[in-house]
Amino acid sequence: MEKKTFNKNKVSDEKLIARFQQGDVQAFDVLVRRYKDQLLNYVFRFVGNRVDAEDIVQETFLRVYKNKHYYKEIAKFSTWVYTIAGNLAKTELRRRKRRRIFSVSNFVNEERDYDIPDIDNNPEQEVDGAITDNIIQRAIDKLPPKFKEVILLRDVQGFAYEEISQILSIPLGTVKSRVNRGRLKLQEDLKFLFENQTSHNE
């Protein structure tokens, strides 16, 4: 039997999903390998918890697998898969919000833990960098979801405005407006961080 191989640079996502729709499971595996880490980073920044994020990414691929025939080639595969992941992440946030409303812990000052990235060499600079990342993540968490999703897609994932518009099914003008407002809000919340860096640099 001829062994099929996929060159990452040659086969597009859309061709892979087309092959998968025709029953080629190997094509699905390639898509999983391509998107698992970038989806994880998107969802992790969205929900702020690594375990939940990995579960959501698993669920995203399960849905892609089960609903493969719903994908139409009019949209990019990345648009489709990010839409699914984003919707699942928003559902998770809504679930948490409901849980907080009925939870006693709502009345206590809740301190949340974040995954601090692995630091191999432990120099002071890297520790400072990890703390800064943590502070930025907390500020992202405080953003309303409609600003958070556009900021993550634009500034963390690096999507074009047009594709964000397709992923979220909102007009291009709304995306630009939300990105601007989200950035303004974030820089206001993180003013102390960048002011300190400014004074160090001077």
Binding site: Y65, P117, D155, N180, R183
Partner: protein, 182 residues
Amino acid sequence: MNNCDKFQQSFSSYIDGDLTPDSRKHLEGHLELCPRCTETIYRMTRLRDSLLTLPRIKTSAEFEQKLQHYLGYGNRLNMARYPNRQFSWKYPVIGFAVVFFIAGFFMMYSPSHPEVDFNPPTESSFSPNISGQSVNQRDTDKIPATSQPLDTPQEADSLYQNNDLEGGSNNTIKLIKESKNR
């Protein structure tokens, strides 16, 4: 809306380089005169750079294996520790059916319900043909009323031994002995 608020709406486009040359020139003219807006744009640029360089995390080593397991393909040998998402009633139902069948079989042929059908000696009226009745019931109800006195208590004991009667017949022996004494 003051002048700064109006310009703020195009800060992101300015940072991303999406402004038309005219709009860009107009905004830069304002920035030369407004240190507050200049500072805001500086912080927004730093923020965008920080977001782009946030550390990237990777999925766990068994991510793909877990996914393949949930989807029902892949290497099943290494997946014993991951619970299967699809619960099947087939095996529990078969298990219960087997257990009930075995339990029913033992209840039907249990030693606690002996099919006692012995023929006593014709001389004695003790224990006429009683089939399928428990020994203890016979002990208490039938024997004293119908039995003839036996010669010795030893005879009574031997009679019980011969008829393969088991524990719980002490009352009967006692009654037989009493009838003998009378």
